[in-house]
């Protein structure tokens, strides 16, 4: 392995990631690796100063110090696991979103670069891009270790955190190779079922990995079943944390053994990822034969739902996009992960028993509707940008902005409304909801997904990101922040009449709204906010169709 090649390639990969989404020359001047180093140093210094000041303050207050020292110990122990979790989450969400079309034409595939050189460079590049998080973690834990009087522990924490950070990037490399393998397994397979199976497998992999590498879940799992971290020796990703726990307790031999185990794990995973990269070097551009029947255009069933020919064509295309594109899988996985992450901590303590009681099911309903709301918001925000460079197909066709916006919204609502209804029915049955609660959940759910779809569409039409190389995001960073904020506010406003009806009598003993009034208020709010969002989306789509992105 040539270290010069590794460093040069790592630098090129990092620059490529930094500049991939740059807009305009002046902005891209800031997108240099040296800027990341400078930002890391500034963030390190600022975090160090703030945490040092806070702990100095806490150490002088006897009532607070036990809490602060406990928090410091927990942070020191869990930092490596947090670093691992972060790189995997960030890597999965962003690295795997690269479309296979560009991955297959990746220039490194045609250059004399070995798989070990590529993997090492890619791991270094990924770690470097996200190094600001490591910088914050290390800066925050240094004053904590000093305050606890264990500066040598910090050196151990720093080393293991860096190792976990690299391990996360290596696991991403392994997953990338595995996804290439899965894609090539489907190469030249036939049938629509193939596409559905591929989507389900990809979503399940994303959901499983994000839940499995979530340290909160792991710790909760261990506490529930075994009684804590002490006996979690069989989970290798927790070895760095066990090293620190044992070192803090003065058990040097155990600390040494877990430390050796952590480093060995890093090396083994690096070896595995190099072997996988060598085996699945170039991702195969998937070519699936969807049907073997002769072409016979049928009358679309969407026509019966009131959609015109043009609108139906766009809806069919977008539904196929959702099912068939690898980049779309993460947008389906995120709401599922968020809903599971919300429910799990409440479900775990009672694992082994059936979760019961209305409060659990009410919480589950809230989590699932939140998931559906996020799904509607995310998919609608990306619905314009996901056209990518192929947007010329729409811009050069006789499609008017109203048809475009209605078709895009309908695509999302055709999934989210039936899903909301199905979820309401299931949760109501399992949770034994009354008629009032059932209708409240039903109406609230439908209103929420409708509104989030149109708000997301308005933001997505105003801030589309059509760039596809190397990471497709479909909506600009500012757009996604704005969308999230607007989506949250509007979601809360929509469900507020039901919340006032349900909880105000319990909390304050006041009854301001009865159920019919809450229904009416929610419907009115939904109608107003949806109409405003729709009008804005149409005006933005109109601009887009007048001046196609170049």
């Amino acid at each position: 392995m040539r270290s010069r090649v590794v460093i040069r390639l790592a630098s090129v990969l990092a620059i490529s990631q930094l500049r991939s989404t740059a807009r305009g020359a002046s902005f891209s001047r800031l997108r240099r690796p040296m800027v990341i180093v400078a930002v890391d140093l500034v963030i390190f210094a600022v975090t160090l100063g703030l945490v040092h000041f806070s702990f100095n303050l806490a150490s002088n207050i006897p009532d607070i110090w036990p809490l602060a020292s406990g928090f410091a110990k927990d942070t020191l122990q869990s930092l490596p696991a947090l670093m691992l979790s972060f790189t995997i989450l960030a890597g999965l969400l962003f690295e795997l979103s690269q479309s296979s079309q560009f991955a297959s034409s990746d220039i490194v595939n045609f250059l004399p670069i070995s798989s070990s050189e590529y993997v090492s460079a890619s791991v270094l590049s990924t770690s470097f891009i996200y190094s600001v998080i490591l910088s914050i973690g290390l800066a925050a834990t240094l004053p904590m270790a000093l305050a606890l009087g264990t500066p040598s522990i910090w050196i151990l924490v720093a080393g293991l955190s860096v190792s976990s950070f690299l391990l996360g990037s290596i696991i991403i490399e392994i997953l990338r190779a595995a996804v290439n393998r899965v894609s090539s397994a489907f190469y030249r397979k036939s049938g629509r079922a193939t596409l559905i199976v591929r989507l389900v497998i990809t979503v399940l992999v994303l959901v499983f990995v994000q839940i499995a590498f979530n340290p909160n879940f792991l710790f909760a799992f261990m506490r529930t079943f075994i009684g804590g971290l002490d006996v979690s020796w069989f989970i290798p990703i927790l070895w760095p944390s066990l090293t620190i726990i044992n070192a803090l307790r003065g058990l040097e031999i155990y600390a040494f053994l877990y430390g050796v185990g952590s480093v060995s794990l890093l090396l083994v995973m690096l070896w595995v990822s190099v072997r996988l990269r060598a085996a699945y070097w170039v991702p195969v551009n998937v070519s699936v034969k969807v049907s073997s029947s002769v072409y016979a255009p049928g009358r679309s069933s969407l026509g019966r739902l009131g959609f015109g020919v043009v609108g139906s064509a766009i809806i069919r295309k977008d539904l196929r996009s959702m099912v068939r594109r690898r980049e779309m899988a993460r947008f389906l996985a995120i709401p599922i992960v968020m809903a599971i992450a919300m429910i799990l901590p409440f479900a775990l303590p009672s694992f082994g028993e059936t979760p019961s009681g209305p409060s659990f099911y009410e919480l589950a309903a809230v989590a699932l509707f939140m998931g559906m709301g996020i799904f509607s918001l995310l998919t609608s925000m990306i619905s314009i940008g996901q056209e990518g460079s192929a947007i010329w197909n729409i811009c050069s066709s006789p499609v008017d902005p109203k048809t475009l916006v209605r078709a895009k919204a309908a695509t999302i609502l055709l999934i989210s409304v039936p899903a909301s209804v199905a979820m309401t029915v299931l949760i109501s049955l399992f949770g034994g909801f009354g008629v009032n609660a059932f209708f409240a959940a039903l109406i609230g759910g439908i209103c929420l997904v409708t509104e989030e779809s149109f708000v997301g569409l308005a933001v997505g039409a105003a801030f589309p990101d059509f760039s596809e190389i190397p990471r497709s995001r479909f909506v600009t960073v500012s757009g996604s922040f704005l969308g999230m904020i607007l989506g949250t506010i509007i979601g809360l406003v929509t469900i507020s009449p039901f919340a006032i009806y349900r909880f105000l009598p319990e909390i304050l003993g006041l009854t301001i709204l009865n159920l019919p009034t809450a229904f009416a208020a929610t419907l009115a709010l939904t109608a107003i906010l949806t109409y405003i969002s729709y009008q804005f989306a149409v005006s933005q789509a109109s601009k887009l169709l007048r001046e196609a992105p170049t």
């Binding site: 070519s287 699936v288 969807v290 255009p297 996009s321 192929a390 050069s396 001046e547 170049t550």
Partner: protein
């Protein structure tokens, strides 16, 4: 009755902006300018193209050919000037203009997750073709361009040439009155390229106008009724090949030699010799 008919024809003709007694114009561009920031892509461009003609747009890379084509289609708004397609201002009714035009971009990006036939079905629906008509035309074109048997595969697995064929079919499905083709023959195998060339000539005979750009000057010389040479956003020369020879004072020379002289590219032999060393 006779007066009524005359009035009807004359008002219809004036509505379409046509001039009776003269060649019908498929395209009129006057004083069109387009800048991208500080870069002047098209400068004071004037161009007229008669109905049913095959008009070639030639020019070195970055001369403004693609920008001009996008402005005709309404994909880009000119900073100044006006563009009329069959007498209609491009900005006045973009949907009607788009439904009259078939467009093949320089590097077409298709919906890779659709199969070839699904993509064509989408394009046909967007142009509101009836199910019977779209089936007839899609099947006919797939057979003509030898894509039958591959039409149910996802486009992501197609070769560059197959993608180009799908784009060409998509542009022709709705029988446009004006075809705008940016390097339409790139990536096509010789047989398919021949089919497309013959098709353009046949459509021209049926009064379909074609504006196309190419860097293969032999093709332009063989196919185009008239040629416009663009250079740095300006029209350098315009006319038939014999007219261009006359302007360049190069009788009997090839279009390639004319092009190199007019664009100032000059003698390329010293460069070739230097590269070969």
């Amino acid at each position: 009755m006779g007066v009524q008919i005359t009035l009807y024809i004359s008002s219809a003709a004036s509505m379409l902006g046509l001039r009776l007694g003269m060649t019908l114009l498929a395209l009129e561009m006057h004083s069109v300018k387009k800048n991208f920031g500080t870069i002047r892509a098209v400068n004071d461009l004037a161009l007229t193209v008669g109905q049913g003609t095959v008009h070639g747009l030639l020019g070195p890379n970055g001369s403004g050919k693609s920008t001009t084509m996008k402005m005709i289609l309404g994909l880009l708004r000119p900073d100044a000037g006006n563009i009329k397609v069959y007498g209609m201002d491009v900005a006045s009714d973009p949907l009607k203009i788009k439904s009259m035009i078939g467009y093949i971009p320089e590097s077409p990006r298709l919906y890779e997750f659709l199969t070839g036939v699904e993509y064509l079905d989408f394009v046909a629906d967007v142009h509101s073709l009836s199910p019977e008509l779209k089936k007839e035309r899609i099947t006919e074109f797939l057979n003509a361009l030898e894509l039958e048997g591959r039409e149910n595969e996802m486009i992501s697995g197609y070769s560059q040439g197959m993608k180009q064929k799908i784009t060409i079919i998509g542009a022709l499905l709705h029988r446009p009155k004006l075809l705008i083709m940016d390097e339409p023959l790139a990536g096509l195998d010789p047989r398919s390229a021949r089919i497309v060339k013959d098709l353009i000539q046949k459509l021209s005979a049926e009064a379909v106008t074609t504006i196309f750009s190419t860097h293969v000057l032999e093709i332009a010389e063989a196919m185009c009724d008239r040629i416009t040479i663009l250079y740095q956003g300006n029209v350098l020369a315009e006319g038939t090949v014999p007219e261009l020879r006359e302007k360049a004072e190069m009788p009997g020379s090839s279009l390639e030699d004319l092009f190199l002289k007019l664009t100032g590219s000059g003698d390329v032999r010293p460069i070739v010799e230097a590269l070969a060393k």
